[in-house]
Structures are given as structure tokens and as C-alpha cells.
Amino acid sequence: MYPEKENYFTVSELNDSISASIRSSYSNFWIVGEISDFHYHDSSGHIYFSLKDENSEIRSVMFRASNQFLKFEPVNGSMVKVFGSVSVFEKRGQIQLVCNLMEEIGVGALFKKFEFLKKKLDQEGLFNSDRKKILPKYPETIGIITSGSGAALQDILKVLKTRSPHIKIYFRSTMVQGARAGADIVEGINDFIKFGNVDLIILGRGGGSMEDLWVFNEENVARSIFGCSIPIITAIGHETDFTIADLVADIRAPTPSAAAEIISDKSSTMIKEYNIFFEKFNKIFFIKSQSLWQKLDYFYNIIMALQPQRKIELQNKKIHDFSNRLYQSNGLFMKNLVKQLKSYDKRLYGLSPNHVLKRGYSIAIDKNGEIIYSKGQLKTGDKFDLKTADGIMGAKKIS
């Protein structure tokens, strides 16, 4: 039903209300469109125009305070990206777009071309994230495709030199703008595929206008990136530049330096990781070698107790040597040590058991005649034999 007739707006109240509502919802956004009905107001310096697309338009204004900074001259037909807010010209109840910033996004035709190709390749799935390759975390060899004389190359090399100097770099110089650049870049990518030695490719170019960067919106370059078996990271133009190559690439970096940082991210902290591993190794090995020491002591004592006069290689000094060298952590040394221990083992068995027994040692033997070395070989309650120097007695494990 209709609201009460007593609650009515005046025209001014309505326009004020609309104005407030719009101000809160339609402030500070970017909008793209074509300029038409352009008019420059001489005395104030303000510019008035319509911003339109195929189906609609909105009246717009850019006041002198803002438009004096424009880096180009807008004319009818200019394709622009505008930052502003909608306001209501209350006197006339008219909405208008107040523009604070304006950028040219290229001649209308170029922009249309970009949008058309972008849509086409998107539909074919060239931008799908599940088709993108993962960049290796620890690349050892990389390829760079860019201009030999540009700043992009120097930026990349500078970052990599600091963070990951061990990474070997192959550089393939190409044109990065102009009619022949596309074919050159495609050939560069194919060269790296044929060459085969690189873990990833950085495709880069410094900043420029839409026309300058245009080669990276070409179809052959996009398809070449898509079909490349080596992961590609693009670093084209400035932070706000997005080309079709960026959309097809496996990763897009905002700048060449950022690309270098991304690929060397893990490598730069790698030495630290290796030192952590090294410490872990030493720790684990120290723990394991403790038990080795106990065995060593045991054998040493038995041998010394049995045949003190016999010339044996194992002496006090050697044990201390072993002690120091063990902690130097040399794997080959440890192997030899184990070999030596095994030979002592054998010789121990070769020595007359009675000598051992006469010293007060007894030998525990289980029901199968096997020598018992460990309490774990018997369960509580198990019977076994105990051989002393003068005979055998029966025994039972009670705990």
C-alpha cells in the first residue's frame, strides 16, 4: 500500500536525501568508459563530458583543481579510466560523476582488441589456475628473457646476486616492443625449451605505455607462454600494468625486482636450513655414540682383565683418541671403528672361556644352548643354565 499522504517530501528534501544516499554508496571507485560530448569551460577551467559504454552514459565533470594535473588531453573518443564519486547536483536533481583522477587506457581500438583477446583466451582456458605450473622452490639455473639494454635485467641480477648468488643465469636478449618483438620472444621461449638447462624463466620488461607493452598482449606470445614446458614468471611494466602475458604466466610479478625476490625466496634462507640440519645430525649422532661408548668400555675392560700382558692394539691412549675423533663426526671413521669392534668381538669368543669364568664371570645359556646377552631374551619365569668355572647350575629369571 502507499505510505501516508501526510508524510511527504519537498523537492529539496528529496534531492537532499538522494544526494546523501548516493554520497555514502557511490564514492571513490574506478570506472572505465569512453568520453563524448566533451566541453572545456574556459572561464572556470572545469571540463564537462559524458562517460559512456555501448548501452549507457553518465554526465561527468572534472574540476580544474583535478584536471590541471592531467598528463594527456582528453577528447571525444578517448578511452579512459577514471577515479571519482557520484554526486547529485541538487538544484537540478541530476546525478553526475565527479572525477578526481583520469588515465588514458589507450586508443579505443587498442583497448577493444585487448578485451576481445582476453575474453577469447580466457574461454579457451589459457588463464586457468589449474593449468599453471608450480615454480621450483630451489632453482639452480634460470633463464631470463628481456632486453639487453633495459633496466629490468639489471634489477633482476642485482637482487639475485645478493640473495642467491649460487643460481646460474642464462640470458636470452630479445626485442621487447615493436612489430618484430612478438616473434623474437616466441623464439626466445623455444630456445630455452630446446636448450633445456633452466628450471624456470623470467620474462620481463620495464615500464611503458600501453602501446610500448603491446607485444605482451599478442596472441602468439600468449600461446607460447601457455605451451611452454618450463615454468614462466612474468615481470612486465609497473605494478599496475596487467598484460595478457601476465594472465597466462604461471606466476605474475609486479616488477622485475619482485620476480627475482619471488624465485630466490627459499634459496636465500637455505644456508640457515642446512646449518640446522647439520646441528641435528651432530646431536643425533652424539646420542647414538653414547651407547657405542658403553660397548667400547665393556670390551676394553674384559680384554684388559683377561690378557693384560698380551700385545693388543687397543690401549688407553687410543680410547682417548677415539673419543676426540668421534665427536669430529667423520662417517668413514665410525665405519672403521665398528669394523674394529667386530674383530675384537671375534677374538673375545676365541679366547678360552675358562679364563673368563675364573675371574668370576658366568655365562648364561638358554634352553637352546644360545648365549644370553640381554635380559630381553628371557621372559620372567623362564628357566636357563648358568655356567661357572666349575660347572653348570640351573636358574630361573624372576624379574
Binding site: 589449474d130 605450473k133 639452480e140 639475485l160 649460487h166 624456470l200 644456508i271 647414538k288
Partner: protein, 75 residues
């Protein structure tokens, strides 16, 4: 993401090292096995350390000969 993940030698070594350390920490291996692992691990570490610590940035330019083969020259 694509399954075509490239693993480089360094990443491979790191994965092997993790595995070796896990085995050694688990404690269920003989002294001889742990010696073998230790030697393996130390070799891996030293290999990679050599790569990293004495590294100097190497930049080579890739160009093609007339017959299609590649040649490189220091940039």
C-alpha cells in the same frame, strides 16, 4: 596447480635429508644403519654447502649459431 612440479637437485637433497633425520631420530635402526645414514647425510650437506657458500653469480648470454646449436658467452 599442475602436477608437473620440477624438483631441483637442491630441493631433492633437502627432502632426502629430512627423511634421513627422521629415520635416525626414530631410533629403530641399528648402529651400522645409522652410520650409513650419517655418512649419506653429511655428504648431502657438504655438497650443498659447497654450492652455496662459495657461490659467485654466473651470468651467461644464450645465442644461436647459424646451424641452430647454442653457444654461451659470459655477459
Amino acid at each position: 596447480m599442475s602436477k608437473n612440479k620440477i624438483k631441483t637437485p637442491i630441493e631433492d637433497s633437502l627432502i632426502k635429508l629430512e627423511s634421513i633425520i627422521n629415520k635416525m631420530e626414530s631410533g629403530n635402526i641399528s648402529l651400522e644403519e645409522s652410520l650409513a645414514y650419517f655418512e649419506q647425510g653429511i655428504n648431502l650437506i657438504n655438497e650443498c654447502r659447497t654450492k652455496l657458500e662459495n657461490a659467485e653469480q654466473k651470468v651467461l648470454e644464450l645465442t644461436k649459431n647459424s646451424d641452430g646449436t647454442f653457444r654461451t658467452k659470459t655477459k
